[in-house]
């Protein structure tokens, strides 16, 4: 599958609450095994099959505004 979208998570800002993981319909976010400097298992994107659809549910639920949502869109052909 081609990559349609992806997210960036500010792992240092993340408090590992898991609301994004809970909200993700594609189940492509998980807790990292690593800790950030605050000591939290931060959320990370794990999307080997490119399932992320850029719905921004994670962004909407993140209480710490850690997530940037990208969509890869086809460039509109110029007339």
């Amino acid at each position: 599958m081609t990559k349609k979208a992806y997210i960036e998570i500010d792992s240092e800002r993340c408090k590992g609450c898991g609301l994004c993981i809970n909200a993700c319909p594609q189940h492509v976010i998980r807790f990292s095994e690593k800790f950030n400097n605050k000591g939290y298992h931060y959320a990370e994107l794990h999307d080997p099959e490119n399932k992320c659809i850029g719905c921004a549910f994670c962004y909407n639920m993140c209480p710490d505004v850690c997530i940037v949502v990208h969509r890869l869109v086809k460039e509109e052909s110029k007339v």
Binding site: P63, V69, H70, V73
Partner: protein, 254 residues
């Protein structure tokens, strides 16, 4: 040849300062902050908006927004906002208050600001507990709910009943728009944003007092994980505090 571009569709809104929130993991304050900032950005009013933060967990809220702002004494945000708005009627003034602030110590101020039809917007966070001071009973604590000052659960006989502010304020003729929302799912978050936007628009149109009550979790003081807390909110809190628009006088006012 097909070429794709990388488009950012969601990121931190401009009206947030970027300072890290002081809230506990999973606390809904952060979601509501972001929604307010998005609304301010979309309405293009950041340069003329004044914020009044409360005393409570969100006492630092004025730091989290890239806006002119202050902190009111506990409960007095509506009075402070009144003073600002009366001094500068063309500015947008909003208060951000918790349930202890708005529904307990500041009941007189919120009731009279609403009753005057004070042209301000209030975002009211109801999480049924005092967060900042360590989980004591709030006026909105549910019957039977255990807190550090209701160790046997809140009893109506000893502590009275959970107070419904939206319903109460909706009875006042100065209230132009009052809605209760929650932010437990992405769909709810979008609805909540719509409510907040409407509340600010009411102010921009000089229609009177507007308030959005947001039912919120307090995982720390409830002793639940963030996910469990959201379930508890949806199951228990919404029974006492049904969602919905409690008053919308915008049509008659317009």
């Amino acid at each position: 040849m097909d070429s794709t571009i990388d488009k950012i569709i969601a990121k931190m809104p401009k009206s947030l300062s970027g300072k890290e929130f002081t809230y506990c993991p999973g606390c809904h304050h952060g979601i509501v902050h972001r929604l307010i900032a998005e609304v301010i950005d979309e309405l293009g009013i950041a340069g003329k908006t004044l914020m009044v933060a409360p005393v409570g967990c969100s006492v630092f809220a004025y730091e989290f927004f890239d806006l002119d702002g202050t902190v009111a004494p506990h409960g007095r945000a509506p009075a402070v906002a009144t003073g600002m708005k009366r001094a500068m009627p063309d500015r947008i003034v909003f208060t951000y208050q918790g349930d202890g602030d708005l529904a307990s110590i500041g009941t007189a101020e919120i009731v009279h600001a609403a009753n005057r039809g004070e042209n301000i917007t209030t975002i009211f966070i109801n999480n049924a507990v005092y967060g900042m001071t360590g989980g004591q009973m709030a006026p909105t604590t549910l019957l039977g709910q255990k807190t550090t000052t209701t160790p046997y659960g809140r009893s109506a006989k000893a502590n009275g009943y959970p107070i419904r502010m939206s319903e109460m304020l909706a009875t006042l003729e100065g209230s132009a728009y009052v809605e209760r929302v929650m932010v437990t799912t992405p769909q709810n978050v979008i609805k909540a944003k719509r409510a907040i936007k409407k509340a600010f628009e009411v102010q921009i149109k000089n229609l009177g007092f507007s308030m959005v009550e947001v039912l919120s979790t307090c995982p720390t003081n409830w002793g639940l994980t963030p996910i469990e807390a959201m379930k508890w909110l949806e199951e228990k809190m919404t029974k006492q505090y049904p969602l919905g628009i409690y008053v919308d006088r915008t049509k008659e006012a317009e």
